[in-house]
């Protein structure tokens, strides 16, 4: 078996060894609880606040605009449910995007059960939200709009600056799940008037199990978890200091290296896209042809099914993702692909490659050595693909 090829960075990223190094002392020597009044606790407080400032700087925010959570899912829950509950006197209507991560759609369902009205904006064929369509859904009762910065699945980048501009002065708050975009696109809260922004630590090669929520000064939230009142009362629970120091280190590295890392990743991705589209007949690129994350290539192959592709790639030591229903718990195909206008049988044949910090050009060679043959083999077996 040749060395494993990992092109599924959107699912999970390895923690950068420099981050691990920075975290280690906080497990053993500097283990304090920031709430304690003794000197061990004081040192923990210092490390916690210094880390908060570094994460805030990563997105152009003030330190007191950032709180730590257990990850992006919690940040999204706190942003939507916390904002809706705290501001329901102003209205009961929330707008989310149809193309967003399943965790957002399920928060929407929860809010509906809790008595809020939730509208969903459909994307265009490339997975992009048209700000005008969003605006058409705003009513006097609308309090919050939530749109992901980019799709973790098909890579399409949303016109966040335009949406933020459109909402300015309307009194409607904007939440953005920035997890797929962080470290790959510039995110600056001084430049773009977003009110709430979700971040994940692992998505910038920090430790999993930690996230952050940016809350613009003046934006009012209620907690969704009750406890000791940490993180300004918004997120109770003793702060996991080692993880937080890790995220801060990861943010510093991402900020320093983005300018060189992103073009390198984009070049690899471009090479894969042109190799696949030119070598494999009846293959298509899903998502936006240009307005997409630099690390994302999402293909659709006619006549074959994604889980079979995935298993065959796995046998060759290549780790990738698919939007096929058959690889999901619910047996439903990816709602993201469906919302772009694909039919179920088209969504079944998708394969997603995501590149990252440790990807190598040789991995593309390996993919192109085996992928055309796998597609051919599965098509020969398929009653849906006839070459006549």
């Amino acid at each position: 078996m040749p060395e494993e090829v990992y092109l599924d960075y959107q699912s999970a990223k390895p923690v950068d060894p420099r981050v691990v190094e920075a975290m280690l002392p906080y497990f053993t020597e500097s283990f304090g609880n920031a709430a304690s009044l003794h000197s061990v606790g004081d040192r923990a407080t210092e490390a916690l606040e210094a880390s908060r400032a570094r994460v805030a700087a990563f997105i152009g925010a003030e330190p007191d605009e950032v709180i730590f959570t257990s990850g992006a899912t919690e940040s999204n829950n706190l942003a939507l449910i916390g904002y809706a509950n705290r501001n329901k006197r102003a209205g009961d209507h929330i707008i989310i995007s149809e193309v967003d991560h399943i965790s957002m759609l399920n928060i929407g369902k929860y809010l509906e059960k809790a008595g809020f009205r939730v509208s969903k904006v459909p994307p265009d064929q490339f997975g992009r939200i048209n700000p005008a369509k969003l605006r058409a859904r705003i009513t006097d009762d609308t309090i919050l709009v939530s749109v992901g910065w980019a799709s973790n699945e098909i890579g399409t980048v949303q016109p966040i600056a335009e949406i933020a501009e459109m909402l300015k002065g309307t009194g409607v708050a904007l939440h953005v799940d920035a997890v797929a975009a962080e470290g790959l696109l510039p995110i600056d809260m001084r430049a773009v008037p977003v009110d709430l922004l979700s971040l994940s630590s692992n998505d910038i090669y920090g430790p999993p199990g930690l996230g952050a929520l940016y809350i613009r000064k003046g934006v009012k939230l209620g907690p969704i978890m009750m406890g000791g009142g940490q993180e300004r009362g918004l997120r109770s629970g003793t702060e996991p200091l080692a993880l937080i120091v890790g995220m801060a280190e990861a943010a510093d590295i991402a900020a320093a290296e983005m300018a060189t890392e992103v073009p390198r990743i984009a070049a690899m991705r471009d090479r894969l896209v042109s190799a696949v589209l030119s070598t494999i007949p009846d293959s298509h690129l899903n998502g936006h042809p240009t307005g997409r994350l630099p690390n994302n290539a999402h293909f659709r192959f006619e006549g074959i099914e994604g889980e079979s592709l995935l298993l065959s790639m796995r046998d060759e030591g290549i780790a990738v993702s698919t939007g096929s229903a058959c690889s999901s718990k619910t047996l439903e195909p990816s709602h993201t692909l469906i919302s772009c206008g694909l039919l179920h049988e088209e969504a079944h044949g998708s394969l997603e490659f995501t590149f990252g910090r440790f990807s190598q050009d040789s991995e593309i060679d390996r993919v192109m050595e085996v992928l055309p043959g796998i597609v051919l083999r599965l098509r020969r077996m398929s009653p849906l693909y006839k070459t006549d």
């Binding site: 265009d124 099914e305 079979s308 020969r380």
Partner: protein
Amino acid sequence: MKSTQYSEKTLDHFRNPRNVGTLEGDDVAIGRVGNPVCGDLMEMYIQVVDDRIADIRFQTFGCGSAVATSSMTTELVKGMTLDEALGVTRGNVADALDGLPPVKMHCSNLAADALHDAIKNWRSGKKLNPLTAEEVAGVGSGCAVPAVTVIANADDYLGKGLFRQVDDINDLSEKRTLVLDRGPASAKLALELTKVTPRVVFLTELDTLGLPEDLSGEIKRSDVKVLYQARLLSVLGEGEVEKVRIHDLDEDNDYELFVDAVVLLEA
């Protein structure tokens, strides 16, 4: 479902499927089950000699377990009498593979059903032809005139993505467009539209294209995506066309398709 939950035997049949292919001849019958919408479509080809399955081949579009169950079924029943083969169940196939993940038991374990269908077709003398690429969503020989269904709320969207006539195809430039089958004029329009937009879906209630041969040939060779046995139920959207609700006449279920425009030519 995690692929790691497949047994070694299932993975072996997925990696090295037995008896892939098709068979031809007077002593061959074909069985077919599944629907590509659900991600599974299987065909079983049996050659029957003296009431026994002398040879067997399969074609499968589907996930790992769909391929493995097809392969295992062919191994199990080769050489059996037809009655014996009719006694082979989905459960037997799953057992022979050392089990399947629970979530896969129903959706991707259709191979025994395809085999039974082939035997039934052999006994009744019904001849299925292998599918052509364009017929994948429909089976049989429809030749009726497309029925004109009234879409209840269509006129609410007139001028907002719903077209009763198209004067300038550029009005549909870059739009995901659904064209309802209203005969040759609608099919010609669908072909025209592929010049201005990459996504044209032609929706017909028939199980085959009920069009003049040259025109249906042209449709099949084009980028028009044909949805067979599909009935438009309603148009959905906030202020403009955003999606449609479609009834799948074959599977008897409803689903939504995201589109920007719907063309309903006057009948």
